[in-house]
Amino acid sequence: MSMLWLTRSRTSGGNFIKKIICTSLTLSSCQVTAASSFSSLLSNISSNGKEATFAFRYSYSCSTTSAAFRRYTSTKAKKQILSVKDDDDNDDGDSALEENRAMDFPGGEITYTTEMKFLPGSSEKRVQCYRVLDEDGYLISSNMSELVSKDVALKVYSGMVTLNTMDKFFYEAQRQGRLSFYLTSFGEEAINFGSAAALSSEDIVLAQYREPGILLWRGFTVQDFASQCFGNNEGHGKGRQMPIHYGSKKLNFITLSSPLATQLPQAVGMAYSLKMDKKDSCVVAFFGDGSASEGDFHAALNFAAVMDAPVVFICRNNGWAISTPVTEQFRSDGIVVKGQGYGIPSIRVDGNDALAVYHVVRSAREIAIREQRPILIEAMTYRVSHHSTSDDSTKYRSVDEIEHWKTTHSPITRLRKWAETKGWWSDTEELELHVEAKKQVKDAIDEAEKKEMPPLRDMFTDVYDELPSTLVEQETVLRETIQRHPQDFPKDIPM
């Protein structure tokens, strides 16, 4: 049930009446958490009381009208209203008298009550999550219209398999000592590709680290991934960042930075930039359940709401932050309810259902751009991977649990089953895809390993736009040292 909040203020000799209308609208099987609070409502009324301008906000619910929320100068505190004299529109009888007493605080009028009631910390029922396919790959709701074309669906599926294969082999490569570090996205492939398919190539993506699927979708090759991980000279990053910290300006994917949640305020800044340029695209920022504890997360959501920034915040709630389970990360009902705290419409989706993710992200993107406001999506999933190659998650969770999620709830299996029911996929194609992906990945690793490392000069370039003399000096000193003691330095650095 979604709520429509509408308020109207009417002057009548200085008295004000508020009316609240609640209606229920259903939106298939999804639930939209309304951003609603009286404090977000404002009316700006001139001193003589004649003119009244209305500012109202209502939650989004598949309607085509848009809410306009304009910035304005701060309201002046007005006289406290103690009672209502005339009340033409009131048809609620006596109880309206209670509700209509309003106090005018900066930020808007608030009706008061004599009943002391604490808002509960959480509601009894958890926010439901939007889902389209069941575990066996059948559409749950029969009135679901055709969501994706065959091409898009198969591209999503093969992307998921490629990512899965790439992760397997790169992880092995790290175990064999060929890579220093790697981080897999097992179990979260649907979030990767469901969202990637829903975005346009102009949407700027700021990821955390478990979203390489976005890059794969946009054209980053497996070879590119390997080059970045090996730190060779072919990579976009010139070998400067640790593995899996990809970035490509051409593909509108911002280079990853290790500290968590730092990308969230930056996302707001980029959306601000898009607003100034009035572009028809949005910014998408990914983060995990653990990152939502960082200060940057809260500030970014607040900023985005205040600035009407077209950012889609996507939280991958995979249950674990290294060894910290979500029960120890926060006390709220996940991340989705936090949106309401900042005035942001939010939704929860089954992150292992690629079609659901696709649908939600596509809708969220439309709202964000059309209404120029942020949206929060919480995609529920499970981190089948260890946190990274530096982690052995069997130390803090049971192997059975991991196996269960890996097999029973696998997003790849689910989508494949759906594709098979539609007759778009078969076992032969499955075999072909796996063989092809495996070959691609293996070749990429072998090739990347053979390639040259970045030259010594690249240690000093790009610190500034041009090489300053201090760094030239430091480079000279280093080169001289290497020349004098060649046996103490690695041989494979191109000079």
């Binding site: 910035r71 930056q266 707001v268 900023f303 600035m307 003399s469 030239v472």
Partner: protein
Amino acid sequence: MASSIIQRIGAATSFDTNNNYFHRRSFSGRQSSFVVVRSDGANITTRLKPNGGRTHHLVTNAVATKPHTSAASKPGHEILLFDALREGLEEEMDRDPRVCIMGEDVGHYGGSYKVTKGLAPKYGDLRVLDTPIAENAFTGMGIGAAMTGLRPIIEGMNMGFLLLAFNQISNNCGMLHYTSGGQFKIPVVIRGPGGVGRQLGAEHSQRLESYFQSIPGIQMVACSTPYNAKGLMKAAIRSDNPVILFEHVLLYNLKETIPDEEYVLNLEEAEMVRPGQHVTILTYSRMRYHVMQAAKTLVNKGYDPEVIDIRSLKPFDLHTIGNSVKKTHRVLIVEECMRTGGIGASLTAAINENFHDYLDAPIVCLSSQDVPTPYAGTLEEWTVVQPPQIVAAVEQLCQ
């Protein structure tokens, strides 16, 4: 070794970027001409250093004084430092629509020191953006906006608050151009008032230049006069690197006549305040005025100090400094930073390394003590280097 010497001499020219304007003006009376070198699009920029640089009358105290009528016949306009910064901002915002400002209370309030006054009504709420109170967040926002093509100027209401933004400044602002392989550039300007003011308490009297100086990838400059404030502001905005511009709380009301024509200063250059022969005094920001006050006393006592306002805190202008050291052979550094890990400490190390052979005496560095800035007026006054200490140090150095 020859190659490295040539590199150092060439230090000045290696910074000049393609779009660098360069303007030097001399009030000395010997030369009344001024040079504007415009190198828009051209690959070659030339640097001219008129003899003696810009000689200015001695400033006898730290607050604004009525300017003497100088020998220069060129008209200019009198302006206060905060207004000079604002003028620089306004000119750059007119010139480039991508320039925008963000910070707390910068819009309708005009900034806590009125540096952004009048800009919000002129350019709108979006280009002069009031942000909620979260320094890390709006600094991060500025960095994100810069990566997508804008040129934001991020204001910290007080430099000390930017400690909250350290994560974004260090891990992202300074690094992303490098770690992305040069794909994303971050042309932000981070500015704000800092330094020890008048009884503002310890948390409002921070010298952030000491903490930031290690961050690779950023440049730091400190302004001290209306002339260099405007010039450095414009240069910082035009630079493609992230620049931190340090202003001082006590200097906002300094008055000076600045040129009417447009001028942009070089970010990596130091300013020769008073040429001399006996000792090189290196300083920046507010301490420049304490040094000049001490210089008056020293001149009366028969000394001839050479005073250089280093302006560029990262990287140091070792060219100007080096030439001075080679001439005087004695160095005194006067700074407001604390003793440990301040700008003076780095500068001492840099001069010792590079010009050791030219020094006749160890470098003396006068700095604040390693204490939080006390509130009581008398204590606060003595936490900051005062002119009598400078005079005493010079006398000691020149024995």
